[in-house]
Subunit: 343 residues, 2 copies
């Protein structure tokens, strides 16, 4: 069986022996067409399983009611929850969303953007891949006049709407918490320095150490891809130091999980020997042993605000001069892995 | 600032004072156009940031190189992992994927299908929402001659490619394991009976009880939406029975997690008082206390096979008479929650 040819307006016209233009008018309830003809056309359309080509119609109208979402990966509670909340807000306003993932790859992110532009999305909400440095693909979205909203991993240089948390201050909160627990040698397994949020976390860490007169040693600050596997590797690296840290702040929960596995495997007690803090408040941080202290990123609020920012653009139909920059206050959730005073 | 108007072929033609047809030919490297003109056209195209409308081109060619994926939710390791593997296989063949989620809603699933058809996908790979009973929206995909591949949650009636595991046999494995641990009163918190995979698990459970001469009592078989919240509720319901079960087999890990929480909160020991088994082998089953015995669903293999099934259709360009029905053998991963003999 070969693929069925689609029913066209011409097919309907042939059956009824009228012009394709008359069929089109009838389908659009044009007043110049008699009720009898309209009824006949619609009946034949149903009989032949006629389906209007929405895409062609979107091309004409310049509106698809679709919003594209790009995330590094869907397999993280943070990104899933942001997506969920974007979707809830946009569905209510008659928009559907389509999701693509970059898998932290710059090339894949370029493909994602091409795909979304291809599908004629009315807007794009994105969080950048780890690998992304060059921003031309994002400039392309802007140059087409399509609203672009960034969340979590964004870039100041792009000059678009951004929703995130105060990463710099979060690092301060974490270091302060560890200092209060009595820690004196605090290491940081950070994300890539070229990514703004991770850079902010690193700067926050360094400045907080200064504030509390703690040593900022190069061997205690390590750049990581923040996967679970890399968390294992970087914790192993820290344990090989002659002068081990007494606390490790990891810039992502998945890498913190890897660090925790290594510590548990070696029988190193948390928080007594080494206190551990993650970032992101992924649900598993409350499930593992010991439970991991972490920072909540307010994923629901980020999703809602990102959707609202898009809707503002969509409703005004102009690219606004005034941009939304929404920075939410993160919260520290203290759990067993760093709670020395109560342990 | 109003939205920038897109550069068209006409704009390029105006600059060079040639016909739009000549510009189009030049952009498509037509041999009737001189090299000099081609070069000039391409330079102006770059200067004006001209971007050809891929969608219009896809409409003409009838191929978008896009594959749509529909999942109940992305926030589950099983579905994320299937998506990941579909993507890896298809990317290599030049296809990009777009993801939509139904959130277990029938209406949302209908919208997802409309969205994907709207974006002119070359194929759809889907796992059904809990709510889905009526299959008209899936019939619509078939009627358009677009390859449809179902995985995990599928329907025999649709007569399309299907990749999944042997749910019926998996229930047998679980019941057999629990019988060997000495359990005599085995309850089942199952999924919705109208969903084929959950129905198969329920049938497997009932038949295995018969095989081992164990009581099949109505109060021990409960239908659930299988969310964590509902798992809590259904476990509470089982604990309220005059004659409590000594083992509970839950048809999904998220609901098993809810059940575990309730048991832990009430100080009921697993597996000594009640043995617990989940389904899906979500990563958290190995993180919680006690770790949960579960069934692996071979998500990587399901993803790869689903992608390959689509590629077969795409390459043959015909709807095959012979369908792929791939049923993988699941495996039981025994952990602390049901390992009575070693506890």
């Amino acid at each position: 069986m070969s693929i069925k040819k689609k029913t066209t307006i011409k097919d309907i016209a042939n059956v009824l022996n009228i012009s394709p233009a008359a069929v089109s008018k009838a389908l659009h309830n044009d007043s110049r067409i008699s009720e009898k003809t309209k009824k006949a056309v619609k009946q034949v359309a149903v009989d032949l399983n006629y389906q209007p080509n929405h895409l062609a119609s979107a091309l004409r109208k310049g509106k698809s009611n679709l919003v594209g979402v790009i995330v590094p990966r869907t397999n993280s509670h943070f990104f899933s929850s942001v997506i969920q909340n974007i979707e809830e807000v946009l569905n209510k306003e008659g928009y559907n969303i389509i999701i693509t993932q970059s898998n932290e790859s710059y090339k894949k992110e370029c493909d994602n953007i091409d795909t979304l532009l291809f599908t004629q999305v009315d807007g794009i909400i994105a969080s950048m891949a780890n690998e992304t440095i060059d921003l031309k693909h994002y400039e392309k979205i802007k140059s087409k006049g399509i609203p672009l909203i960034l969340f979590d991993r964004g870039e100041n240089n792009l000059n678009v709407d951004y929703i995130g948390i105060n990463d710099y201050d979060s690092s301060h909160m974490i270091v302060e918490h560890l200092v209060k627990q009595g820690c004196k040698r605090i290491a940081h397994i950070g994300g890539y320095k070229h990514t703004r949020i991770f850079n902010n976390r690193i700067r926050g860490y360094i400045d907080a150490l200064k504030k509390y007169n703690l040593p900022m040693e190069d061997e205690l600050l390590i750049e990581s891809s923040l996967t679970t596997e890399d968390g294992r590797k970087k914790m192993t690296q820290l344990l090989a130091l002659q002068n081990r840290p007494d606390a490790v702040y990891v810039a992502g929960d998945y890498a913190a999980l890897g660090a925790l596995q290594v510590l548990n495997e070696r029988g190193i007690r948390m928080p007594k020997d080494i206190a551990l803090v993650g970032f992101g408040n992924e649900p598993f941080t409350a499930m593992v042993t010991p439970t991991i202290t972490s920072i909540t990123q307010h994923s629901s609020e980020i999703g809602k605000q990102a959707a609202k920012a898009f809707l503002e653009h969509a409703k005004k139909k102009v690219v606004k001069q005034q941009l939304n920059k929404i920075i939410l206050n993160a919260e520290l959730i203290v759990r067993d892995s760093s709670n020395i005073k109560n342990s």
